[in-house]
Symmetry: C2
Subunit: 133 residues, 2 copies
């Protein structure tokens, strides 16, 4: 049902400093940089095997990443799994009692479709699901 | 330098409840169950693509996972990357100013070798490195 870990999202205060650290970790620079205005984040992606490490910096106070850092500090924010069919996955998970965060999903970058499961459904872990070809 | 995400470790209070939830998420049960006495944890592993989701429950108060949950609650605890050569990776990362947690690494399960980087080196993320064939 889950094809792979698409990415692990990490909330950071300063994207340039984080990029420097993760460049040292990965042994090379980021593969992709993007600003996602709808989510009020700047993003740096590092490819690792079939997955990615996604560094996320808030671009506005009160945005989801800013609120996360205010509450918990920097660190792992979510894990995203690729699924073959998002609607089927959500129907199955809803039937299993998982709480899907309303309004948090929809169109993602590059024509993907995403949804988020509430951390209380999965032992404190925010899970994103993504469907893309 | 990093071959893949080997696993994402999730600290949980009740392993049976967590297994039920992640079985629903994954659409099938865990691939591996283990008690690691040296780390005072019980572990359930779910294969996802080339990676795994690792649920970790403390078996004793004061153990690393118990302390993590006391401080931060349940949730993502660490991310583990597979490297081709652990000694080379640690030499390179030490030279780049990363703090390696003393005494936290060594022999892992199944003849693997592991080491841990301090979260303050990587924006609040505990990173494990593993070498295995």
């Amino acid at each position: 049902m889950l094809e792979k870990i698409d990415h692990v999202g990490i909330a950071v205060r300063n994207l340039d400093e984080a990029i420097a650290r993760y460049t040292a970790l990965c042994g090379r620079g980021p593969d992709h940089l993007e600003e996602v205005a709808s989510q009020k984040v700047k993003v740096a992606m590092f490819d690792v095997g079939e997955s990615r490490v996604e560094l996320l910096m808030a671009t506005a106070p009160g945005s989801p990443i800013a609120k996360f850092i205010d509450k918990r500090g920097e660190g792992m924010h979510h894990i995203c799994f690729k699924v073959p069919n998002l609607e089927e996955a959500l129907a199955r998970l809803g039937a299993a009692g998982m709480e899907i965060i309303p309004g948090a999903g929809g169109e993602g970058a590059g024509g993907t479709r995403v949804a988020f499961l509430h951390p209380k459904s999965l032992m404190g872990v925010m899970v994103e699901l993504v469907e893309w070809d």
